[in-house]
Amino acid sequence: MALGSPSPASPALVESRLVQAHGLAALATLLVSVTFGIIIALQLWVPDLGAGTPWLSWGRLRYAHTQGIMLGWLANAFFAFLYHAVPRLTGRPVTSPQLGRWLFALWNIAVMLPGWVLVLAGVSQPLEWAEFPLVVDAVVLVGVVMAVIQFVPPFFTRGLDSLYVSSWYVIGGLVFTALAYPMGNIVPEFVPGAAGAAFSGLWIHDAVGLFVTPMALAIIYYVIPAVTRKPIFSHFLSMLGFWLLFFLYPLNGTHHYVLSVIPMEAQVTAITASALLGVTVIIVVANLLLSLHGSGVLAEDHGLRFVVMATIFYLVVSIQGSLQAFMSVNAFVHFTDWVIGHSHLAMLGFATFAAAGGLAHAWPHIPGARYNPRAMTWAYWLLLGGLTTMVVDLTIAGLVEGQLWQMGAPWTASLEAARPYWIVRTLSAVPIAGGFIAFLVGLTTGPRTDSGAGVAS
């Protein structure tokens, strides 16, 4: 086995039912979260929609939307991928199928369900990317520890036959999440004011940088060589990127509070780290794209096609992130829809395309699972079109809002100016929701895969 690509594994080691269960749970929670998102997008220009019904009010639905995307859709999709990939990377089974069933139940029935119900009922915490209340946070933490126990030990036990960068990202991502989650979800409940915001800022970035990004990159680094059957372009660049990302990501958080009362030294550190992060991502993405070895951006294989697009989004969103951390840019675009466009590019562009690529890659390996390539093609194009429309639209909206605020225009002028953009943004939900439905169709219809051995690697 060449250095820099995942190794084949005996399918007997893979808990295929858990891949399937987490995959379907991911899509179910995704569709619910997207519905929340569509309602709140509508409410920005039909503000009386749902008025008088507490759980349909904008604030509560927004809490449910973002937590659902991160913990429902992405986490489930990542777990599905890990059940597929960890045995193939290590040549060992995951720690325990029994633990896997408990983790699945805990995550979906003791985290997502009560999390959503409580937030919509008004029991929550007003902390970004941490809105589920403390009691649910505790369960999430148990779940993350279970995931660490489930997926990390195979890397340390007998049977390692290749040092692959995906493994590093899996280990790093899981361990970091276990550390960062309590720091962002629990600490600000006890640290007041701007100091609490400093911790929140770290978490807002850690959620993306230490949980979502490592998992998404693990998928990308796995799928590209698995499909192309050629090694990653440069193992050195993979390792360089890994270490730089893991050093720089945690230092980014304070850039969410630029020009605030948080000490300037911390702000400058975060801005510097943000700029360096952009440079690092250029290295990482160059290495990934060079690894395509001519497979092209629009590969036949849907898993590859999704992760390649995720890689491109990763580059764009990271450069954008570096740019908007600079004080002069931040003074203008912060608080506007620009940032909402940015976060959708990160979570719906980069992370979702990676997660979708992981699922699309893993699915045909599940014995007896259905797979519909035509629907997957539809999913790809609908998502790409919808997301691009939304991000471009919100970015322009943000620039318009920022300009009006700088000019000292009356506040309501920025609302009136944003309205057409908010309408377009809501319409962009049609292809996006359609794309996700097509994706679900892709995983539940079509011919069944060989129920025997599955497809190798």
């Binding site: 009386d48 970004e128 409940e189 006890f190 004011g193 609490g196 770290l202 270490w243 945690p250």
Partner: protein
């Protein structure tokens, strides 16, 4: 690579894990713990020694604010940028937020920042706005929090009262900590309604067509499309929005009301508007107030007092009204300063005769103006109504 991974490979995974944890700890120490200590030190050095704690109601209101996600559209931090300072006042200091657990500084502004919102709007305005935002701000996209009320904006439930009580704390500590006890309005929040303060001169030839458009977009919600104070937002407001059609205003008075707002009422300050726009509004206002002869409301009524009525009115006014409205009707009586809503200055603003009589008889709900209908006879009320109207334009 090797098919016998051996301890070296496993060690490298271990090293990665340890280094990863070290990076994380470094970030938390550098960007979390150290700033927290520095902020605490800053707060200790610059903040008041005995910060104001929130009351039980304000604490409950904060919880409502938190659970409804208010902080996701309204930041609570004025940043160190020119645009922020111009719009929202002095930048937020470390000590101002030291009691906020969890913090709600926010990263998005769909609505304006609320760090200094106390004093910029009256309680009845807040309640009306929470109940039906577009009834007072037609362009607003805020959700309606009707579920916090019992069916009407002036029937708030406990949560709505608590929430408004909490809103009134935002910026309060900064305000009180100012040397001398109360900060100048523009330092705390440039849009705060204020009783006095320099007012720019409006252009005499404002563009009435533009004024009509602005009026429809921003004023009609409370004052009504025709200016008679019957807009959709009027229901829950105390005092009720003025019936503009039944009053005459001097240009100075219009400028003062638009620029400073009317402290103690729901009328906000419109200092975020240009002089052109305010002049245009003034021009439109002159059209809707006392139709026909805006410059001379006395002639418009065709009602003139007799000399006896003037004498009677003067005696009653001196005995009962001058303490607040001032001997010369300028709203500067000795008691005026203590009143939550400034008494009308009749030299710059005057009601039509019927409106004067109505206000005298019934008082003005929501202001210190008491009802005199049971204390004065019909003749006396008529006499006073005539008397106060003659202050207008320095006639007396």
């Amino acid at each position: 690579m090797t098919s016998q991974p051996g301890p070296v490979l496993r060690m490298s995974y271990l090293a990665a894990s340890i280094a990863g944890v070290a990076f994380f700890v470094l970030s938390v120490a550098w960007l979390g713990v150290w700033p927290a200590r520095k902020l605490a030190e800053q707060a200790r050095l610059t903040g008041p020694e005995h910060p104001l704690a929130l009351t039980a109601s304000e604490v409950r209101g904060r919880a409502v604010y938190a659970r409804e996600g208010c902080a996701y559209c309204h930041s609570q931090q004025v940043r160190f940028t020119d645009a922020d300072i111009a719009r929202f006042g002095a930048p937020t200091m470390a000590w101002e937020t030291r009691g906020d657990t969890p913090h709600m500084m926010g990263t998005r502004r769909i609505g304006p920042d609320l760090a200094r919102v106390s004093g910029t709007r009256s309680q009845d305005w807040h309640l009306t706005h929470l109940y039906a935002p577009r009834s007072v701000v037609p362009a607003s996209v805020m959700p309606a929090y009707r579920h916090l009320f019992q069916g009407a904006p002036d029937q708030p439930g406990q949560s709505a009262r608590d929430l408004v009580a909490y809103l009134e704390t935002l910026g309060r500590v900064r305000d009180l900590a100012w040397p001398g006890g109360e900060a100048p309005a523009e330092v705390v929040h440039p849009a705060r309604a204020r009783r006095t303060g320099e007012v720019p001169e409006l252009q005499a030839d404002g563009d009435a067509a533009l004024g009509a458009m602005l009026y429809a977009g921003h004023c009609a919600a409370c004052h009504g499309a025709s200016g008679i104070g019957d807009g959709p937002g009027a229901v829950g407001l105390r005092p009720r929005p003025t019936n503009l059609a039944l009053h005459s205003y001097s240009q100075e008075r219009v400028a003062e009301v638009l620029w400073n707002g009317v402290a103690g009422t729901a009328m906000p300050a419109w200092r975020d508007r240009s002089i052109e726009e305010l002049s245009a509004l003034a021009a439109h206002l002159q059209r809707i107030s006392v139709p026909g002869v805006p410059a001379d409301p006395l002639r418009a009524d065709q009602i003139r007092p007799t000399d006896e009525e003037r004498d009677l009115g003067g005696r009653i006014y001196a005995a009962n009204c001058a303490q607040c409205h001032g001997a010369e009707g300028a709203g500067d009586g000795s008691a005026a300063i203590d009143l939550p809503v400034a008494p009308t200055n009749f030299t710059r603003q005057t009601p039509m005769f019927d409106e004067a009589l109505r206000a005298l008889r019934n008082g003005i709900d929501g202001t210190p103006m008491a009802p005199w209908g049971s204390r004065l006879s019909g003749d006396e009320l008529t006499a006073v109504a005539h008397y106060v109207r003659e202050f207008y334009g320095g006639r007396r």
